[in-house]
Amino acid sequence: MQIPVVKLIDPVTMLSIGPAHYVILSAVLFCIGLFGVLAKRNAIMVLICIELMLNAVNINLVAFSKYVTPADFIGQIFAIFVITVAAAEVGLGLAIIIAIYRNKVSVNLDDFDLLKW
């Protein structure tokens, strides 16, 4: 069995940029976003961090589009749809947060317990 860590810090592997580099970068960014979603108290901040996660997915899609199917543009077209959905999601999310703020005068997620039994 190969030992991945040795392969990762091998200088030749590190310097020839391939799909693995982009996948790891996007995993790091996704994890930053995930941490924000789990650990932040402000509802708008959670929305921002979801955007970070969606962007991390876009990096993967475009990287695979280049390295796996360069002439078909499948990944790039999927990335365009992800961007569209993300824009719609931000608009709706902000509208919902504004509506809740009007009722509860708070954007703290711990105060949003209307459905708590």
């Binding site: 310097l15 650990a39 708008i44 961090c49 360069p70 790039q76 365009i80 749809f81 608009g91 902000l94």
Partner: protein, 189 residues
């Protein structure tokens, strides 16, 4: 020094100096600004670093030969989304912006989950033998994308248009001011 690193490494480095430099610089910018987005105490500063992160990502798309997506990234994310979020923050004004971005009580649990996800993803990414295609991305990406969007992917394209319309109307409907009847206290719109 060169003997220490090895001739092969120097050759690889010199042969694609610009792509290596661009990738690592942009990766550093993206990760650093992403971390700052989460750590900033003032949420407006968070959004500013988010714009930096998005622009870095547009540069990353350029290194991946996706120039149209880079333009869309700057327009939609760095332009529209960031402005919309700042506008939302300004509507929901609070007394002091200085501590508008607090952590909740589950920071350590979240850090544990995130470390686990990152470890698994990195392990799998490094372990996988990637099947890289020999072909190159065409020089001009806009025309093939436009042709594909309006021929093979025309149904998802139209559905996306409907989705945007529905999101627009829905956002207006949700955020509209609800008139409260002063006499009975019941909501009537």
């Amino acid at each position: 020094m060169i003997d220490l690193i090895g001739r092969e490494v120097v050759d690889v480095f010199l042969s694609n100096f610009w792509s290596i430099g661009a990738f690592y610089t942009l990766a550093l910018v993206i990760v650093a600004s992403g971390i700052l987005v989460v750590l900033m105490k003032n949420i407006v500063h968070s959004v500013l670093w988010l714009a930096v992160c998005f622009i870095g990502m547009a540069g990353l798309f350029l290194t991946l030969d996706a120039d149209f997506l880079a333009a869309v990234q700057v327009l939609v994310y760095a332009g529209a989304v960031c402005i919309m979020v700042v506008l939302g923050i300004m509507v929901i004004r609070r007394a002091d912006m200085k501590f508008s971005n607090p952590f909740n009580t589950q920071v350590y649990a979240a850090a544990g989950v995130v470390a686990l996800v990152l470890a698994v993803c990195t392990f799998l990414a490094v372990k996988t033998e990637w099947m890289v295609s020999r072909a190159r991305v065409p020089e001009n990406t806009v025309e093939p994308i436009a042709t594909l969007l309006l021929s093979k992917y025309v149904v998802p394209f139209e559905v996306a248009a409907v989705l945007l319309l529905v999101a627009l109307i829905g956002a207006l409907l949700i955020a509209r001011e609800v008139k409260t009847d002063a006499n009975t206290g019941s909501q009537a719109d």
